[in-house]
Symmetry: C2
Subunit: 427 residues, 2 copies
């Protein structure tokens, strides 16, 4: 994930006083006459990330970026994409540059539908697919069409900050349920379903969870689905990393177990082709997807059609399997490198997950405040994301932090772990 910069306001105020610009000085007398803005209840308390210093550091090349959520640049099939882009400009430029339909490029929707069925056994009667502007838009609009302000969404604790903030932006309540080594705590999940009012949705990332790297067991997947049925709520299954398994056994998605149209499945091409192009998708019950279409129509009309066509041609010409296999190999290597260095350098008291895929692992330093660890690490030019960031309950301390191994180079992985080790070993 990419976060934003927020010192602009101060900089701009200073600029005004410096009088350096004629344009500004001509209006300087009006400087304090600006109207007061009343923001909606939905967003008035939303602020750019409290840990923006950490994310800002990602643009500093001297900082080792374990804080990113970026795929490796080696995962972008540049040559192939370039050739397809050229072909589209040559033969299909009108279609690629003109307005298109909200549901998504028809060929791509078909390809997604087929792949979901073949690869993940996903797709039952009345399911349909919509192409979204990244997985993020799928999460945002699913919450928009299902939740009123004040409704409750149950989330794993910790969970993906982008989803939590999307839910907050509709003024929903978040109920966090703690994660265990094999997924969400099922007793606590049932308790949350029992005690919270107007629970509309359970949001889970069962495979290579962000931030923890944990994969939810099949038993727990079944239990989550059973509880969703029992308490009649929808499950939003977010699976952006599902293609990136580099060890262990495939586990069925929750969506593949869905028999009553209860699961909306969200994913994207961000981690397998390009994150910057913003092409994701939802697969869910047609009546939910139809509402998402209406919401997307007024949100951005449709997703960049050129890149929808590009992805579709990529799948047509090359398929996805070979390319995904190379990314798996890359991340297997990078995660092994990071873990073996951690095994070597970290004190025994320090616990960490050993993910079977995805981009992240999760380090716990018992009894410590990871906000402090992150601050100290940044002083040593290593950026990590403290666990508090991922808490559905805002401001809650955590003794864990997230490490990303997809983005840093091999050299940065070993150097970064070497710099982290003394900080956390000696706390």
């Amino acid at each position: 994930m990419v976060f934003f910069h927020q010192n602009q306001w101060n900089n701009q105020q200073n600029e005004n006083y410096s009088g350096g610009s004629k344009f500004i000085s001509a209006k300087a007398g009006k400087l304090f006459n600006f109207m007061n803005y009343n923001f909606s209840d939905k967003v008035k308390d939303m602020r750019p990330s409290a840990i923006r210093e950490i994310f800002k550091s990602l643009t500093d090349p001297s900082v080792i970026a374990f804080a990113a959520g970026n795929p490796s640049e080696l995962s972008f099939p540049v040559e192939k994409m370039k050739n397809i882009a050229e072909e589209i400009f040559l033969n299909r430029s009108t279609e690629a540059l003109q307005y298109s339909i909200t549901e998504g490029y028809p060929s791509l929707r078909k390809q997604i539908t087929s792949r979901l069925k073949e690869r993940f056994s996903i797709g039952i009667e009345n399911d349909s697919v919509i192409v979204t502007t990244g997985g993020q838009q799928g999460i945002d609009l699913t919450a928009k069409v299902l939740c009123n302000e004040g409704d409750t969404i149950i989330c794993e604790n910790p969970s993906f900050i982008g989803a939590l903030n999307a839910f907050r932006s509709y003024n929903t309540r978040l109920a966090g349920v703690d994660m265990e080594d094999d997924g969400i705590n099922i007793t606590m999940l049932e308790n949350a379903l029992k005690t919270h009012k107007n629970v509309k949705m359970i949001y889970v990332i069962p495979t290579f969870h962000n931030p923890s790297g944990i994969t939810t067991s099949l038993e727990k997947r079944k239990a989550i689905l059973e509880l969703a049925k029992k308490y009649d709520v929808v499950i939003l299954e977010d699976n952006p990393y599902g293609e990136l398994r580099f060890s262990g056994e495939e586990i069925p998605t929750i969506k593949s177990l869905d028999t009553d149209g209860r699961v909306v499945y969200c994913s994207s091409f961000s981690k397998i082709l390009s994150a910057g192009m913003r092409v994701g998708f939802l697969c869910g019950p047609n009546s939910i997807i139809q509402k998402v279409v209406v919401a997307k129509q007024v949100n951005d009309v449709h997703t960049n059609i050129f890149f929808q066509m590009l992805v579709s041609s990529f799948i047509d010409i090359y398929g996805l399997d070979e390319h995904i296999s190379s990314i798996r190999g890359l991340y297997r290597k990078k995660s092994s490198l990071m873990l073996s260095r951690m095994d070597e350098k970290f004190d025994k008291k320090i616990k960490y997950t050993r993910p079977e895929g995805g981009l992240f692992l999760w380090v716990t330093v018992p009894g410590c405040d990871a906000d402090e660890i992150a601050k100290t690490a940044l002083g040593y030019k290593v950026a990590v994301v403290p666990g508090s960031t991922f808490s559905p309950e805002q401001g809650k301390k955590s003794s864990s932090f997230r490490l990303n191994y997809s983005y840093p180079s091999d050299r940065q992985i070993t150097d970064g772990i070497d710099r982290l080790a003394p900080i956390i070993n000696n706390i």
Copy 2:
């Protein structure tokens, strides 16, 4: 309530019983157990457009498409875009395919800021620019950050359906104020500001208005701004067509008259470079834009970065003026062709606007229901959009309809008017 397309449902039942697919037949017993979906109050009454038959007809090549809002495909600078795309893949592929920042590609933001200042005298202290996924996202997120459910947004009547539906999707109330030949009725505007509760925003398209083609006079622009000040509300000025003046004198934007940070200005590159790429922007008070950044972060993280870079390079290498000038010439010709044919063929009782730019003109057949006209016209293979579609008050009849001249070919323009004339002359 569960609703299915009856045919689909039947087909699927047959498939199930045919046992053709193991996957489906295994679940046949559960066929009638689909859950009931409770949609949010925001979207539960939102439906795909009631005139979707008309829009569906746009894909039928035998229908003359006066109903579109599409730019001419001749307005896409394909060769230049192709060359830039190639250069980006060659030299800057990592940046173009990786995650980027929410505010937008920094060079493009600077270029937009400069052009707004030079071309439209837009930009005061504390204004800033965010790149959005089309102008549509700018409209959607401005409403999201400013309006609670039940708040009122004042709109021109008629107005752009995409904006009206975006506002509806946040459960706001719409108060329509009638348009006159020189813009919104100012007395009625003040009355609306006085009588409606919690008015947060006035939404206007002062230049080459969609759907009417009307340009609001300078006097009325000033009056709208004064009333916004008096009643302390924000103005959202939507100006997607502002670059497309082909006759008459330039009139200052409302935003250029803004001295107290009251106006959010929305536009895009959809009508001057490519609609399908979805690159638009907002310029407004920094504190509003910062909230939009937060809302965009959770909506789609950022706009397709490849095309942001492409637009930026286009401006760098070629500038916009020459290309825009050619589009103006094209639409001058097309609008003249349509108007002169209408002058020749339409009965004197029929009134229509003579726009000085943009994509649309507005035809009024006094005493008639334009829904009926549109239906009849479709029978003669001409698609027009009836005025009822553009009403802030849903279901309100209108004696007017919208014609688009940018998308149809010259031949289609004359043929289409020839087919329309007998229908509306003889009512």
